[in-house]
């Protein structure tokens, strides 16, 4: 039996539609990885680099949305806001110049991988690869340290996304 619990609470139409689109992206990602693996490629060798580069591209977009990229407070006003906050059912625990802490209570990517019938260990691995996108985003903001704590994919109730201002 799966150790993962991942139940959505918000069912607004726009949230459901965005979740569906993210699920499609997660399905697509898994199939690309699966076909590459069948042909002998190790996920760590190619997928991480690709997803990290994608994150860097989106990190640059976030950079363009803030005036001062060293301000964690400004970053907290553009990252994890709007519909995305509802899609991942995010709770904001801290949002100031020192800390930006988010808990994600639902993950549509995990949901897609569960629907494909993948084992927990593989979902955990896929989650960590997908999070290379967030690591890529964070790499464009050298004044903050990004830490991924517990995750839903590991069987925890929430994903802990943490940004700390570097001392």
């Amino acid at each position: 039996m799966s150790k993962i619990t991942n139940e959505p609470k918000n069912d607004e139409q726009i949230v459901v539609e965005v979740r569906n689109a993210i699920e499609h992206r997660a399905t697509w990602m898994y199939l690309l990885l699966d076909e590459a693996r069948k042909r002998g490629l190790d996920w760590d060798d190619f997928a991480r680099a690709a997803i990290n580069r994608m994150g860097c591209i989106h990190g640059k977009n976030f950079q363009s949305m803030v005036d001062d990229k060293s301000s964690l407070k400004e970053f907290s006003e553009v990252f994890g806001v709007g519909t995305g906050r509802k899609v991942f059912e995010m709770d904001v625990l801290e949002a100031d110049e020192e800390k930006y802490y988010l808990d994600f209570h639902y993950c549509p990517l995990v949901s897609a991988w569960q629907k494909l019938g993948l084992p927990d260990e593989e979902i955990e691995k896929l989650c960590d690869i997908a999070m290379d996108g967030d690591r890529g985003i964070a790499s464009q903001f050298p004044d903050y340290e990004f830490t991924l704590g517990d995750t839903i994919a590991e069987g925890h109730p929430a994903c802990q996304i943490r940004f700390d201002k570097k001392k």
Partner: protein
């Protein structure tokens, strides 16, 4: 021909969904590039996207009361949120032909933003369309044809489904 790809429908929902499509576009382009550096050609991606289309084709086939009825197919194909994302226009819808034009493509937009050359964008588009080919293949009573595409520099992507005789 140079690519022209300008959206005219802009609202919060469509914008959010297009952004996700853009991420999907960058993911596939970068995965193909990284795999190529390790000596793997694009066939893995074609197969992956085809499998993706097979899931939807099968579910779609099972949803229809009569999967040989093109008019019933027309009621569902391209009628959801994708209609606004791709700015679809139904050019012809009869019992024998369904012709839909896509006036905008968020994938092409993302690939262009990444600075990918046009010939490569056309190839990436062709890989992405494996999904639609798989959906077409799930319906033996219809023949799917991808005509001109935005990625090739045409003003629209032309998707055509035609009824074929499967009784013989």
């Amino acid at each position: 021909m140079k690519i022209t790809n300008k959206p005219t429908i802009n609202n919060v929902c469509v914008f959010g969904l297009r952004e996700i499509s853009g991420r999907r576009a960058s993911t596939i382009a970068l995965m193909i590039e990284e795999a190529k550096e390790l000596g793997l050609d694009e066939s893995f991606a074609r197969r992956a996207i085809y499998r993706y289309g097979e899931f939807f084709g099968k579910a779609f086939f099972e949803k229809l009361n009569d999967p040989t009825d093109l008019e019933e197919f027309t009621k569902y194909f391209g009628t959801d949120h994708n209609r606004d994302i791709y700015e679809m226009e139904t050019v012809e819808a009869t019992k024998d032909r369904l012709h839909i034009d896509f006036h905008y493509c968020p994938y092409v937009e993302q690939w262009a933003k990444m600075g990918i050359p046009q010939e490569e964008i056309a190839n990436l588009c062709d890989i992405a369309m494996e999904g639609d080919r798989a959906i077409g293949d799930a319906f033996p009573a219809f023949k799917f044809t991808l005509g001109n595409t935005i990625a090739q520099g045409h003003p629209v992507c032309e998707l055509l489904f035609e009824k074929v005789d499967i009784t013989e």
